[in-house]
Structure formats: structure tokens, C-alpha cells
């Protein structure tokens, strides 16, 4: 009987172990973003009528059909804006090289439309990458977009009359249905973009 009890005990321990292992396997959560914040519910982009860097219309429809990474900045910003665009361009290049699909598009929306004409935007964004979309246009139309997305911007005047722009530093992730899906808060890193974007765009 002793042997039999030992046998039962071994089987029981094995069964418990298997059960624990199986439940662990089933309970492993899907990968989660380490930096990005996913909105509890997506929010459609508002209606707006702006221009791209070629002078063509840029509207909500422009954001249909692909994932977009949208950053708000301005070309006369020497530090944070080029750093962010460079980080986005580098992350996108890494994702491209690892055959990531879908590959998000990078979009720079100028919060300084007074100085950032489509021609200025074209020269500027193409210095980072040929596939960045630059968006600018009327201030009122810009405000429709920024207010709808909770993006802040304001002029900050220096003593000499020159101005800089204060602006929200987040990178917004827009899904192919032209809805705000998630966002990256600053400070940004290439590694976070590379880690999180496949999770955000494919759920894997």
C-alpha cells in the first residue's frame, strides 16, 4: 500500500504541476506597450482643412488608410523638434529593416504656420526622410485639429521680438480609421517607439 500511496502522490503532484503550468500559459498577458498610452476608446479626428508640404489639401481623409505618428512642432525649433523627428525617422527605419507591417507614416504638423509655409515644410521634412508628411495652413484650421486632439500650443516672445512656440510634446498614434488610438508622452526614445509600435498597430 505504501508504494501505491507514493504512486498516487507522484501522479497528484504531476497533475497539479501540469494544471499550474497550463493556467500560467493561458494567463500570460498579451505584450503591452512600455511607453505608449492606449486610449480606452478611440477618438475620431475632427474636421479640418490644412495643406501638405506640396500645397495639396490635408484633411481628415488624409489620415485614412494607414497608421500615422503625428508630432506637433515648428521648423525654427533647434532642439526638441529635430530630436523627436530624428528619433521617429530612426525608429521607422529600424521597423522597416525588420519587415514590420504595417509601417506607420510620420507626420509633422506645424504649430507655427505663420513662418512654416508649405515650401518651408517641404524643405524641412525632406531633410529627415522622403516619406514624412508635413502639414501646415491656416491658424483657425490648425486650431480645429489641435483642440480636437487636446494639443496645446502658444507663442512665447523673447525680448527682441522673436518668438518661439511652446507646444505639446506628445507623439499621437492615429489608426487607419483616422482615429486617435494612443500616444507617446515625452521624453521620447527610439527604443520605446520600436518596442511599442508593433504592439499598437498589430496587437502583437
Amino acid at each position: 500500500m505504501g508504494l501505491r500511496n507514493i504512486f498516487i502522490a507522484i501522479v497528484a503532484v504531476f497533475a497539479i504541476g501540469m494544471g499550474a503550468w497550463l493556467s500560467y500559459q493561458l494567463a500570460v498577458p498579451p505584450p503591452t506597450p512600455r511607453s505608449a498610452t492606449v486610449l480606452p476608446a478611440t477618438a475620431p479626428l475632427p474636421d479640418f482643412a490644412l495643406l501638405d508640404q506640396h500645397g495639396n489639401a490635408a484633411t481628415r481623409d488624409t489620415f485614412h488608410g494607414q497608421w500615422d505618428l503625428v508630432f506637433f512642432g515648428f521648423t525654427n525649433c533647434p532642439d526638441v523638434c529635430p530630436l523627436t523627428l530624428q528619433a521617429l525617422a530612426s525608429a521607422r527605419k529600424e521597423l522597416l529593416e525588420s519587415d514590420q507591417d504595417p509601417l506607420p507614416r510620420i507626420v509633422l504638423v506645424s504649430v507655427d504656420p505663420e513662418r512654416d509655409t508649405p515650401a518651408v515644410m517641404n524643405a524641412y521634412v525632406s531633410s529627415f526622410s522622403n516619406d514624412i508628411l508635413g502639414v501646415t495652413g491656416d491658424l483657425e484650421e490648425l486650431q480645429k485639429l489641435t483642440k480636437g486632439l487636446g494639443i496645446f500650443f502658444a507663442k512665447s516672445f523673447a525680448e527682441d521680438g522673436n518668438y518661439s512656440m511652446d507646444h505639446s510634446a506628445a507623439v499621437l498614434v492615429i489608426n487607419p480609421e483616422a482615429e486617435l488610438h494612443s500616444l507617446f508622452s515625452a521624453p521620447h526614445s527610439i527604443e520605446d517607439f520600436v518596442h511599442d509600435l508593433p504592439i499598437l498597430t498589430t496587437g502583437m
Partner: protein, 136 residues
């Protein structure tokens, strides 16, 4: 990560010939000026080798109409750029001007910028000049 032109070895000048410079600059980097943009950033580290605090009140360059000391700050998710009226370096302290933080903003080039000189000033008094050939 960034496209930068790295300053080649700088020439350190000191107002007090023979004495060691009280202020030493290293790792001077000038970001590439972007087409369409009018401003570029300058980054470096500065070490105060003297026994007294050093207060930098301005930086100038003959190659740019305007040079300002700035700081990028992030407040409640909003990126703001603020002019710094002065930067104080304690004895034996090294401070950095680096991406996303303190930086020089160099505006409106006066001509070719193959060689750039930066004058660090305390009021009117020159503290240090760095002349560097832009690489690349």
C-alpha cells in the same frame, strides 16, 4: 541618432597667457542646419577649473547674428524653450549643454559657417573662445 557636425579640436584661448584656462570646453557639437529652418543648436560640456564660480552671461559668434543660451523644459507634457540669462558653473564642476536640455541656439548665419568661433562671456569680459572647423 542625430545628424551632427562634430567640431574638430577647438582652439582654447585664455585672456591670461601662461595661466591655465579657468574654463574648458569639450565635446562641442553643432547640429546640422535644416533646409527651411533658421536656427541650429550647439552642444558641449564646460568645466570650471578655477577655484571660483564662473558665471557665463552670453555667448556670441561672428558667424551668427544671434546666439542665445536656451533650455528646453518639459512641463505637463508641453515642451517650452526658455532663454537663459546666465549659467553659473561652480568650482571643479562640469555642466553640459545637451540635446533636450540646455543648448545654444545659433540664428541667422552671417555667411559661410565652415569655421565657427564661439565666445563665452561674463558681461563684457571674454572667458573663453573656441574656434572650430566644422567637419563633414
Amino acid at each position: 541618432m542625430r545628424s551632427v557636425f562634430v567640431f574638430m579640436a577647438g582652439l582654447l584661448l585664455c585672456g591670461c597667457s601662461g595661466e591655465p584656462a579657468p574654463l574648458v570646453a569639450a565635446d562641442v557639437v553643432l547640429t546640422k542646419i535644416r533646409p527651411g529652418a533658421e536656427a541650429r543648436a550647439g552642444y558641449f560640456s564646460l568645466t570650471n577649473t578655477s577655484g571660483e564660480p564662473i558665471v557665463i552671461t552670453a555667448v556670441s559668434s561672428p558667424q551668427f547674428e544671434a546666439v542665445e543660451m536656451h533650455e528646453s523644459v518639459l512641463e505637463d507634457g508641453v515642451s517650452r524653450m526658455r532663454a537663459l540669462e546666465k549659467v553659473t558653473i561652480a568650482p571643479d564642476q562640469t555642466i553640459k549643454f545637451e540635446p533636450g536640455g540646455r543648448h545654444l541656439m545659433l540664428m541667422r548665419p552671417t555667411g559661410a559657417t565652415g569655421t565657427v568661433t564661439l565666445h563665452f562671456l561674463a558681461g563684457e569680459a571674454p572667458l573663453l573662445s573656441v574656434t572650430a572647423a566644422v567637419g563633414g
